[in-house]
């Protein structure tokens, strides 16, 4: 109970009890005078939110272009039979997460948007897919997606985008293989005036025939007023007009100085492993290095600390989703997310690189290996035993609780 107070306050002027007595009648009056209308329309900010971040976008494939023998660009337009009217605007460099039903299991894969945001306003997105040897989903897309196919994705996601408050407006892009796709969106945005930056792009491929967008980039360079330039670096061929070898810091320095410039890097895992070492040599501040997430780790056995005796092992994973429980097999060298998908359990997922946290699940029992550089978990999640299955590898039998599909 509160103690007796001894307040000596000067008289509170005109303030009086009458107003207090009127407090409730005033409230009742305000309520009874208000309209009894139902607010049926979404409020303005919720409408804007829905336009910027739609939960799902439904498309029809309008056109398919062969970029190389192993890369195709798919042009996606809104599916008129769905609720998708307009395409969400995005930041050049963002991706869409597509859902697939393959052999009874639902899987998701992120693909960078290769067209520009202005083109989204005109009513289409492009995504460019490279057939990956042994790649289960990219092969599916290659064999099954065609003109007229209906596909579904998330809204635009990801953080591989230029930010004028953070980045230098002089960008050094580094792309390897299919990592070239977001740079097409960025380059187009420079030419269309959406991005006020200079981009010099170092693009690594094995052979000339593997280069995606070669002719298109020539055209974009011509129209860019010097703001966009590509340096092609071929690992397996020595041709005139092309650099031969790998994208080393020495090679980069031959074309541009690198002080206080922002590096944007996108490619397969091997590229990151290589570039990381080059940039360490140069002592580049972290703020000037932006890397796109690159998907699942395919050579986990090469990571420091991965238990080598587990490489050939298979484990049992007991999974609880809602009221359902099941036990599924999992390889030590494949992420728990892949195991869940193979078993047809439809787990939620997004970036597949440990970052976005959409697959966040609770590990109840067992041991796992999580490589440090793809451990994007929150600190409290680490404490409380949560994992991101897309970047987590079982090294014993495990038991986990997975959320329902989002």
């Amino acid at each position: 109970m509160s103690k007796q107070l001894n307040i000596k306050i000067k008289p509170l002027g005109f303030l009086d009890l009458l107003a207090f007595k009127n407090l409730i009648p005033t409230r009742k009056k305000n309520i009874s005078n208000a309209a009894a209308d139902l607010i049926e329309a979404a409020p303005p900010v919720n409408v804007l939110a829905q336009r910027l971040h739609p939960k799902a976008q439904h498309f029809v494939i309008e056109d398919v272009t062969f970029e190389t023998s192993s890369a195709k660009t798919f042009r996606l337009v809104p599916d008129e039979e769905s609720e998708t009217g307009e395409l969400a605007f995005f930041r050049p460099g963002q991706y869409l997460t597509f859902s697939f039903k393959i052999n009874g299991s639902t899987v998701k894969r992120p693909y960078s948007i290769s067209s520009s945001p202005n083109e989204a306003l005109k009513g289409y997105y492009d995504i460019t897919v490279k057939r990956d040897e042994g790649g289960f989903v990219s092969s599916y897309i290659f064999d099954n997606w065609d003109k007229g196919t209906k596909v579904t994705s998330s809204g635009p996601e990801g953080h591989f985008s230029y930010d004028n408050l953070r980045d230098s407006n002089k960008i050094i892009g580094i792309a390897g293989g299919c990592g070239i796709t977001p740079f097409r969106s960025i380059a187009k945005s420079i030419i269309e005036g959406l991005l006020d930056i200079d981009l010099i792009l170092f693009y690594g491929c094995n052979k000339k025939e593997d280069i995606i967008f070669y002719n298109e980039y020539k055209e974009l360079e011509k129209n860019s007023d010097g703001k966009f330039k590509v340096v092609y670096v071929l690992a397996e061929e020595d041709l005139e007009g092309f650099e031969q070898g790998f994208i080393t810091s020495d090679l980069i320095r031959r074309y541009t100085d690198i002080e206080k410039k922002s590096f944007f890097i996108c490619g397969p895992q091997g590229l990151y492993n290589f570039i990381d070492k080059e940039l360490v040599k140069e002592n580049i501040e972290r703020k000037f290095i932006r890397k796109e997430v690159f998907g699942e780790i395919k050579d986990i056995e090469k990571y420091e600390g991965f238990p080598q005796d587990a490489t050939e092992e298979r484990f049992n994973v007991k999974v609880h989703i809602g009221d359902d429980s099941s036990t599924i097999p999992a390889k030590a060298t494949e992420s728990l997310l892949v195991a869940l998908e193979r078993a047809g359990l439809c787990p939620p997922s997004g970036c597949r690189s440990g970052a976005c946290g959409l697959c966040r699940s609770l590990l109840i029992d067992g041991n796992v290996y999580i490589p440090k550089d793809v451990d994007g978990r929150r600190m409290a999640d680490i404490q409380f035993g949560y994992i991101h299955p897309c970047s987590t590898f079982p090294v014993s039998d495990v038991e986990m609780i997975v959320s329902r599909e989002a």
Binding site: L5, R27, A34, I39, V45, N46, L52, H53, R378, E405
Partner: protein, 525 residues
């Protein structure tokens, strides 16, 4: 038409795992009720969460929790989380109340750092505004009376004795229906002292001429007397702990699931339906979603929506959404020259002008900025810091924004805020930005579905402040079995209020549940 094909039955269902929903579910489960908490996201917390960019983990919405206190003198919120619910977490004391900078104050720049503690606060104010001591002492005593009166009202459970109120809390009654400015003026508090005393106004989202005095008094007093605290591992640290505790107490939680209908029959809750097709039988629902969302969108069938509930929604004003710039900086706070935890920078002296500007989509004139490292030194890697700058906007002033202009607009406003902060402190932070994220009202709306992106609740103007809400609680219970928790509930917004509102809603639900149970037993016997 509500049919009877339920798949499951619970004693109570809680909609939304925000602060209020979590404490509600934990309290219900702790009372032994079979409880299901349903959350649309894959993690708990609502706005009380965290997100990771690069090597930084950001705090999305919390600045500091009031009414918390040290372990040896626990405030109500610490008591709730630790003693009643059973969390055992690390909390850190915020070092100072705030630094307030008003560059264009009448008579020149105002720049003060205010400490916690009654004596310390009064003495510091006397230093800045000589002669203010007696006035400020009176003001704080009045605030204390307000807090004690609220405690009495809560303890008397709706049966407050008028004579006790008149006898012990006369100044509370006198001020209860007035604005903060009315009381400041009535007490003849010197102008500059007023400016310093009212710095926290933006946490209530109303200028001094509009905000009810008693709610401000209670907030101010609890901050200054009990200091403020923050959780060691961001808000996600305590919301994930609440998730665990709810399950330990026997409660269940369904994530990635959205409640789409609250089924009502003859004015009583009978169940809920979800986006995943679950149809759950229950007589009790606690909604962490606002009355605006519940009455306009969730009650099913629509004929069950009482007109008076819609009138109540439409009479009230949904308060602001937020605009937050999150910065991961590659220098330490000392290197940057950021020495305090909490900054209020008001570009124009009059709070009521700033309130007006919050309704217009232009350069922000008020910001509350936090440097997390100054309470949690190791919240980011050594040699780095986390700073976040917050301002408020009404949802409506974003109505004309087109998606194609959105990204440019948000960086423009972010830059203006950074600029204002840099100028106020005479420092440079923009060259040290390693990570940046900007949340707008659309981000908040997208994340929780909050009505018009509001991160607060209803505006606590005098007729809709805590006291009248409390006094009308029974009259305004429009559907049997339905209670509200969170920022839109009767305690008003803010972390402490939201957390405590969940407990209140749970206790009210439990009382009704026991009544129903006892009646059923009487019938059976």
């Amino acid at each position: 038409m509500v049919t009877n094909d339920y798949q499951k039955e619970y004693d109570a269902v809680v909609i939304g795992a925000g602060n209020g929903g979590l404490t509600a579910a934990a309290t219900l489960a702790g009372k032994g009720m079979k409880t299901l908490l349903i959350e649309q996201h894959n993690l708990p917390g609502g706005f009380a969460t965290s997100f990771v960019r690069g090597r930084f983990e950001f705090e999305p919405s919390l600045h500091e929790i009031s009414d918390f206190g040290p372990p040896e003198d626990k405030g109500a919120t610490r008591q709730l989380l630790e003693d009643k619910i059973g969390l055992d977490l690390e909390w850190l004391r915020v070092p100072e109340a705030y630094r307030l900078i008003i560059p264009n104050e009448k008579g020149g720049r105002l720049d003060v750092v205010m400490p916690f503690g009654k004596e310390e606060y009064i003495s510091k104010l006397e230093e800045y505004v000589p002669g203010s001591r007696p006035y400020v002492t009176d003001f704080i005593s009045l605030c204390e009376e307000v807090v004690n009166a609220f405690t009495y009202l809560a303890e008397s459970k709706g049966k407050a004795d008028k004579n006790v109120l008149m006898d012990k809390y006369p100044n509370f009654l006198k001020t209860a229906s007035y604005s903060l400015q009315d009381v400041l003026d009535a007490m003849k508090i010197p102008y500059l002292a007023q400016k310093i005393l009212t710095a926290y106004w933006c946490y209530l989202g109303l200028g001094t001429k509009q905000v009810n005095f008693t709610i401000f008094a209670a907030m101010f007093y609890k901050y200054v007397m009990r200091a403020a605290y923050v959780p060691k591992y961001r808000s996600h640290g305590f919301t994930v702990a609440l998730d665990k505790r709810i399950r330990e107490l026997g409660g269940e939680i369904l994530y990635n699931t959205k409640v789409e209908k609250i089924l009502v029959k003859d004015g009583k809750v009978v169940g809920v339906e979800t986006s995943k097709g679950d149809k759950i039988k229950t007589q009790f629902v606690i909604s962490n979603a606002s009355p605006h969302l519940v009455y306009n969108q969730l009650i099913y069938p629509k004929e069950e929506i009482p007109d008076i509930a819609l009138k109540t929604c439409n009479a009230r004003k949904v308060s602001f959404s937020a605009f937050v710039v999150y910065l991961g900086l590659n220098k330490s706070p000392q290197e940057l020259g950021i020495n305090e935890y909490s900054y209020f920078v008001y570009s124009t002296p009059d709070t009521n002008d700033i309130y007006k500007q919050f309704h217009e989509l232009r350069r922000p004139t008020g910001q509350a900025t936090v440097c997390l490292n100054n309470s949690i030194p190791d919240c980011s890697p050594e040699g780095t810091s986390i700073v976040y700058l917050t301002t408020l906007y009404s949802g409506d002033c974003w109505s004309k924004v087109e998606p194609k202009d959105y990204f440019e607009l948000k960086n423009k406003i972010a830059e203006e805020m950074i600029d204002e902060f840099e100028k106020a402190l005479g420092i440079n932070i923009r060259d040290s930005i390693e990570e940046i994220e900007v949340a707008t009202p659309a981000t908040f709306a997208s994340y929780t579905g909050a009505f018009n992106g509001s991160v607060y609740g209803y505006e606590p103007v005098p007729w809709d402040s805590v006291l009248p809400r409390m006094m009308c609680m029974n009259d305004e219970k429009y559907i049997k079995g339905l209670e509200f928790a969170g920022g839109f509930a009767f305690r008003c917004h803010g972390y402490s209020s939201s957390l405590q509102s969940g407990e209140t809603a749970a206790l009210l639900t439990y009382k009704d549940f026991m009544e129903v149970k006892n009646n059923e037993q009487t019938v059976e016997h």
